[in-house]
């Protein structure tokens, strides 16, 4: 059972073990046998040869804006070193052969059974989160194209604030993990500006602002395609921790 508080790990910095937990084996630099680079993490995450369903692909529910932007970014994967991230129904599918460090596991961390990541929890096409994330490692940024479906309602006709917060946290999470082994959210701050209508396209632009003391600082703006309407802005801090081989 989890005994370690995030704040204790973060305060101690990268080389010290948290109290009461076994020493977290810190993998450092390319000379270590277990080091992972951005490229190797992305390759492993994308699991190229697989039967797993990739939910980050166009379907009939995608609005025209979402489709056209998707194709625009797909072009950029050929010309400007962007990477389209696949999205499987569980995080475990993305980190096969890896596990959370000792001291950070729950009784259900390796349980079998039907588990789904929050943003793929509503399965029917178009009803919940429709989204795709593109990453640009060289510029430490990512873009998420997000279309909230009718099951994400908060205020009538509009996306629940929590669903937008969750989409931002998820985009932060994938960006932080792939570009810096950021693993857990330490803090999250969101400022809502305008209600976002269900079924509309929301573009989330995420940047890594800085990395220091085992923490990654990210920012996000969620806005309409033409950037005329800002729906929300947020910032997140992630704890860097390495996954371990199973």
């Amino acid at each position: 059972m989890l005994r370690t508080a995030f704040c204790a790990v973060a305060r101690r910095g990268p080389h010290k073990a948290p109290p009461g937990a076994p020493h977290l084996r810190r993998r450092l630099g390319p000379i270590s046998a277990f080091a992972s680079s951005v490229d190797s993490r992305i390759t492993r995450f994308c699991v190229e040869k697989t039967d797993l369903k990739d939910y980050a692909l166009p379907n009939a529910s995608w609005c025209p804006d979402m489709l056209s932007l998707y194709h625009e970014y797909l072009e950029k994967t050929k010309t400007e070193n962007w990477v389209k991230l696949p999205s499987f129904k569980s995080n475990r599918d993305h980190i096969q052969g890896l596990k959370l460090p000792i001291g950070f596991e729950s009784p259900l961390s390796s349980a079998q059974g039907e588990y789904r990541i929050h943003t793929r929890g509503i399965q029917m096409e178009g009803q919940g989160y429709e989204y795709v994330i593109f990453l640009q490692p060289s510029k430490k940024k990512s873009v998420c194209l997000f279309q909230p479906g009718p099951f994400l309602e908060g205020a009538p006709g509009c996306a629940h604030g929590g669903s937008l917060a969750a989409m931002m946290d998820e985009t932060f999470s994938k960006t932080a993990y792939l570009l810096g082994e950021g693993l857990f959210t330490l803090s999250f701050n969101i400022r809502f500006k305008n209600l976002a209508p269900l079924g509309s396209l929301i573009m989330l632009n995420v940047d890594i602002e800085k990395i220091e003391d085992q923490k990654m600082y990210l920012s996000c703006i969620a806005q309409s395609r033409d950037q005329q309407t800002v729906y929300a802005k947020s910032s997140g801090v992630f704890l860097q921790l390495q996954l371990e081989e199973e």
Partner: protein, 241 residues
């Protein structure tokens, strides 16, 4: 139909879609029912025990239902979608015409935290104490809310904090909108465990409501997260879009 003074709607009127408060005329109720594809799902009170509730959640429910007997606490019912009456009012007063035209989208809409089947997503119940201006929410996060393997997604936690704080704000201030939400995550929450979200109105300044929350284990020994939030009472004279 809804003068400005009626904007200050109590949560009980908003939440009790098919009964209590002001009931829409019979014709409008039938029309409203036709809008929803799955009537039974929408009008069931989801904040009552079902077979997916674990023993911890049922225990807390029973304890707090007992506390409701002397009137100091009240159980807040919770439906799959907002009452059609509220939807209509909100649309007419706060949303511009261009956003109102997607009737099909609106008719399929479900309150996000209630759009999962039993046990798979958020199973939760809220109780409110008017004297203390406090709302507690007992929440069991199901297997479709995963983040890191075995734990709740940070976004799921943000959602249930937002939903509980929103309810606290609605009771104190009528129709409101979240402006800011600031969450500190101290420890990850194990999937399928029950937590208590405690929300408190700290102060009200004009149209601003400041609410703080914490998320703890039900024995209160473990602090998982704490949060502060700012809500604003909506002005019926101003469109939101």
């Amino acid at each position: 139909m809804f003068p400005a003074c009626a904007v200050r709607l109590r949560a009980l009127h908003i939440l009790r879609a098919p009964r209590g408060g002001v009931l829409p005329p019979a014709g409008e109720r039938r029309a409203a029912q036709k809008l929803f594809s799955s009537e039974k799902v929408i009008h069931k009170d989801r904040s009552l025990p079902n077979s997916s509730w674990n023993s911890d959640l049922k225990l807390m429910f029973d304890q707090f239902m007992k506390k409701c007997e002397d009137g100091s606490w009240e159980h807040l019912p919770s439906y799959g979608s907002r009452s059609s009456q509220i939807v209509q009012y909100f649309k007419e007063v706060f949303l511009e015409t261009k956003l109102r035209k997607d009737e099909q989208m609106l008719s399929q809409a479900r309150l996000f935290t209630r759009s999962y089947e039993d046990g798979l997503g958020f199973e939760y119940v809220m109780f409110h104490n008017e004297q203390e201006k406090r709302t507690v929410c007992f929440c069991q996060g199901g297997p479709y809310l995963q983040g890191p393997p075995g734990f709740l997604h940070g976004g799921s936690i943000a959602t249930i904090i937002d939903e509980t704080a929103s309810m606290t704000a609605i009771i104190a201030g009528g129709i409101v909108m979240t402006v800011n939400l600031n969450i500190n995550y101290k420890r990850p929450i194990p999937l399928c465990s029950v937590v208590v979200i405690n929300c408190q109105v700290d102060k009200i300044e004009g149209r601003k409501l400041f609410i703080s929350c914490d998320v703890r284990s039900i024995d209160e020994k473990t602090l998982y997260s704490d949060a502060t939030s700012l809500f604003i009472k909506l002005d019926p004279n101003k469109s939101l879009t």
